[in-house]
Every structure is written in structure tokens, then in C-alpha cells.
Symmetry: C2
Subunit: 184 residues, 2 copies
């Protein structure tokens, strides 16, 4: 079932995939998928082997005032990565860099479960939301790579709040600031 | 010889490694290492399997005015990655994410061959240089991951100059702007 879920989510994205379609691909009854995984959300998190559940973490981020949202996003990312989710997070990145298929899943996870929800509160049109979200992702993924994978100093050993103070303004600019949007 | 070079550079860093030490580790005469690889620089690039030679590319970046250095750095990174170096670059990242040893080599390459030289022109003290360099790295690595590995849209298909306009100001702030430095 998980293999069928991974293939379907990678192929059709989170929105395009259905429990029924995944059950058919796995050759089982949809009720069985529901029984084991509950909702499509839960199945997706299991398929991605997500290191943390955005449904639990994002409400706190989204409660932040608009002008400190960048800092709140960076703070949450550091809390997840400085905590018990780090090994699973590293495994997910490793797998995404090595396989186009997992890269699609990780992209889908970031976009549909994290970034879209953070930028959806800001009131831009869909194209601008996607552009701002991809810029936010570029800084957050790079922070994770530099701090936890390459262990570049002093970023690797820095206190979380000093990282929030350094990188938060970048994420804030990408979220709400004056920024030229990437376009073809 | 390359295996000995990789082990030595990963272990001691670029500055700490010597051709003599690498030759000893490989059980060959230092003259043979010189014969095959020329300088320590060339040997290091071969050991890292560097996708591009910073000695050829950096002079153009370093010729930029201080207040457009961020844009020049982003522009060069995109030129290298949109060009023929991409497969080798992806292979290097893949290998670095999978192996702590290659991660050390890639870090050493970025720090000693690229970042240190970019920030060295700006006149900060060594601690501040390292802090600014690690922030620059966090944005550049993330841009590469988001655009070329995860292929997040619209960043993945955006025209290089629109990416320079979006991300250049971030790199500029990390290089010369008002920024809280990451610290323990």
C-alpha cells in the first residue's frame, strides 16, 4: 500500500491522488487503506516518511503576526531539525537527492503541506503565492543543508535565536516584502 | 592517489593538507603527485570532483562593485548550474548528503575555494567573514536545491535574471548588510 501511495502521490501530487486510486493500484479495498492509515493526509505523511507532522506544528507558526512570520517559520524549522526529527529529515533529503521520485514526493510535501499553507494567509494571487513560497523554500532548505548536512560554521553551532535573527528577515522579505518574483 | 587526497583533505582541510603528506599516504613519491596533478589546488579540485574551477570563474565575480556583489555571486552560481557543470554538481551534492566524508570535502571546497575568497575582499574580521560566508552558503545551496534538485516552480523554470533579482538582495545583505551574525 505504501509503495502504491508513493507512486501515486509522486505521479499525481497530493491533490490529484485519491485513496480509491491508491487502493486500486495496490490491489486492495479502499476500506483497508482507511483502516490502516486513516485520512489521505496521514497516508501521505507515512508515504513521504515525513519527519514531523505539519498539522501539529503549523498552527503555532500561522498564529504569528504577519510582520514576524518569517522569524516564526525559521524558528519552527530549527525546532524540528534541532529535535528528534533530524535523523528522519536527513534520510528524507538524502533519498530526495538520490531519486527523482522521492524528490517529487518531498517537493509535494513541502508545497502542499507546508509552504502553501504559510503563504495562503497573506492574500496574494496564486502565482505570487507560488513564487514567494519557492523563494522561502530556497532559504529554508539551504539553512538545513548548511547547518545540518554540510555543518558549515558558525551556522552549524549557532544558537537557534541568532539564526532566527540572521535568516528570519530573508524569509520575511520573501513572504511579504518587496521582491522581484522569479518568472520565465 | 585520489583516494589518499580525499582522505587527507577531508581530515585536515585544504590548508592543513600537503602534497607530501598525501604522497606518503598513497605510498608514492611527491614528484609523482606533482606530475599527475600539478598544484595542490588542482589535486583538490580533482579529489572533490569539482564541477567547475573557481580560479577561472571567481575573478569576474570579484571584479563586481561591492554593492552588486550579491547579484554577481548569484548570477555566477546560476551560470555554472544552468551550464555543463550541472550533472557533476548534482553528483557532488548527492554524494555529500550520503556521506559525511564527502560532506566535509564539499564544505572545505565551498569555504576555502569560493566563499572565503568572496568575503575576503570586504574587510571584516575573520569571525565575521566566516559568519557572513556561512549565511551566503545557506542561500546559494538552497537555491541550487530548490531549482535543480527539487525543481520547485516557478523557481525551477525562472529566467536567470529574475532569480538574480529575487535572491541577489539576500546574498548582498549577508555579504555587506546589516545582519545579526549566527553565534553560539
Amino acid at each position: 500500500m505504501l509503495a502504491a501511495a508513493r507512486a501515486t502521490f509522486a505521479d499525481r501530487g497530493f491533490d490529484g491522488a485519491t485513496i480509491r486510486g491508491i487502493a486500486t493500484a495496490a490491489g486492495v479495498d479502499p476500506a483497508l487503506v482507511h483502516h490502516y492509515f486513516g485520512s489521505k493526509d496521514q497516508l501521505f505523511l507515512a508515504a513521504v516518511e515525513a519527519p514531523a507532522d505539519p498539522d501539529e506544528l503549523l498552527p503555532e507558526v500561522l498564529a504569528a503576526d504577519r510582520d514576524v512570520l518569517g522569524a516564526a517559520v525559521v524558528r519552527m524549522a530549527l525546532r524540528v531539525w534541532d529535535g528528534p526529527a533530524k535523523p528522519a529529515g536527513l534520510a528524507l533529503i538524502r533519498s530526495a537527492v538520490g531519486s527523482e521520485w522521492t524528490a517529487k514526493l518531498l517537493r509535494e510535501f513541502l508545497v502542499s503541506k507546508v509552504l502553501r499553507r504559510v503563504v495562503s494567509t497573506l492574500g496574494f494571487d496564486p502565482d505570487e503565492r507560488a513564487a514567494r513560497a519557492s523563494l522561502v523554500a530556497s532559504q529554508l532548505i539551504g539553512m538545513v543543508m548548511a547547518r545540518y548536512v554540510l555543518r558549515l560554521e558558525p551556522l552549524a553551532s549557532a544558537a537557534p535565536e541568532s539564526v532566527v535573527a540572521a535568516i528570519g528577515p530573508t524569509v520575511q522579505r520573501y513572504l511579504t516584502g518587496d521582491v522581484v518574483l522569479p518568472a520565465p
